[in-house]
Symmetry: C2
Subunit: 311 residues, 2 copies
Amino acid sequence: MTINVLFSALPGRWEQYQEPLSAAFIHAGLRVSLRTDHAPETVDYVVYAPNGGLSDFTPFTQLKAVHCLWAGVETIVGNPTLRVPLARMVDAEGLTQGMVEWVTGHVLRHHIGMDAHILNPDHVWQPENPPLAPERPITILGLGALGTACGQALTGLGFNVTGWSRSPRNVQGIRCLHGSDELQQALTKAEIIVTLLPDTPETTNIVNAKRLALLAKGAVVINPGRGPLIDDAALIAALNTGHISHATLDVFRTEPLPKDHPYWVHPRVTVTPHIAAETRPSSAAKIVAENLRRAEAQEQLLHLVDRRAGY
Amino acid sequence: MTINVLFSALPGRWEQYQEPLSAAFIHAGLRVSLRTDHAPETVDYVVYAPNGGLSDFTPFTQLKAVHCLWAGVETIVGNPTLRVPLARMVDAEGLTQGMVEWVTGHVLRHHIGMDAHILNPDHVWQPENPPLAPERPITILGLGALGTACGQALTGLGFNVTGWSRSPRNVQGIRCLHGSDELQQALTKAEIIVTLLPDTPETTNIVNAKRLALLAKGAVVINPGRGPLIDDAALIAALNTGHISHATLDVFRTEPLPKDHPYWVHPRVTVTPHIAAETRPSSAAKIVAENLRRAEAQEQLLHLVDRRAGY
């Protein structure tokens, strides 16, 4: 029997995904009718991006599951019309690899002080020896698939990495702390922090004035996670005093970042346009197909969202 | 018996090295008189930096060996007054670690296109997906201790790495090519090249117009090795046409790079002030002490320079 899969995302995505998804469905042994315009009551599965315009799942009376193309599901997880299992994208091959490259690159950029040479209008030749990686304490907030992969890449390069997560984790080579009791310890004297937590009510503004003050003087904040993790006013205040020497931010409460946002003009802020972890169609399609195969076989879905925890 | 060790380097280095060297000699069980002013005919060993002013070793009639504090020995290797074994610095803990950090950082910088965000005066929000590391061919010229360590760090991050060396090497995860016959193959379609060869008559201008033309259009040249490896005029010409999109250079024929050198003002060149691999006193001192212990025990020295090969 043919499975009806509705693709609901921004129009440009259809061009990128149609072929890889079709190929992956065939490879997984599934007979799928993949369209952007199935009648709702005939749809078995939705392949979904939160910015694609679909928000009322009520008419989807036969729906079996929704597969999000994004890792962040905060805008759909609380949707009361969604009453079927929701899987999110955990794409080790594409999304995780991209995140590791972006995080490792920007950590090294700040660690070795690249900007002083990239922007050197006075042509100053002034050799300086920054500390080596083992002397550089880095804290990653969030030890999910992305935070863990970034932590492992950074320890692989010799960095001194602490990871903090809500519940206990154990990752080789990383000092793992957890729970609200140990958050202060995780942040104290950190010279670079990387925020890779999910966006939940508990994590909103988790990087606030009090916690920024715990970091080492001149620390760097790198946020490739979610915009609301950062208390923007507190970060700007700490950048203004120099307690935080730089912030490199990939995600924001409003995206694209509004033209008049102070981050654009702050000399100690680098804005990147939500590029750190981009789902890649070829690898993401394989995950979606594997999950549809599992759903059809009544097996447990991969990367199932815990609707109560919010991710 | 006390061993007389002369320290000959720039004056500032004495302050950095006196304590770590003294501690390392004690730790190695050596009784050493370490000074900057031993009478030449009483000196057993010289701890040496090529820019310290000493070039005539004739008066050093009792000299047993010279230990260079630098990895690059091109300015001393041909010195006819030096008739004793010469060791060079291969400091895995400091020099190699620093080189890996600098090379990996600048490779990632170019790979993910950081400069477009660091320098973004028009506040353009334009997400782009560069290829992931496995799709990025990188070629490292030189597979000595530094080139090998950098290659391993880059393959660890998922990059597609080719290494080229004069004589055959075998490094896991790296496509290893060697000899002049395979240099063309190593460079063809490379998108990023990293030059980590020693400075010898054979390697002078090894990166010339013909070889730059083999690289992929828009390739990046990263030189943390030695200035003379690059034919500067050919590189500037290739930057001007855009065939080479950027060069990040840490070493130059004349250092500091003269104020009027075209590299300073070229929009596609980043100059860093010979910082990629800096010998760190604490770890370098341990190597020097171990080699003096070996020399005193008539054992083979570590990192002995092959005077004919030139490194």
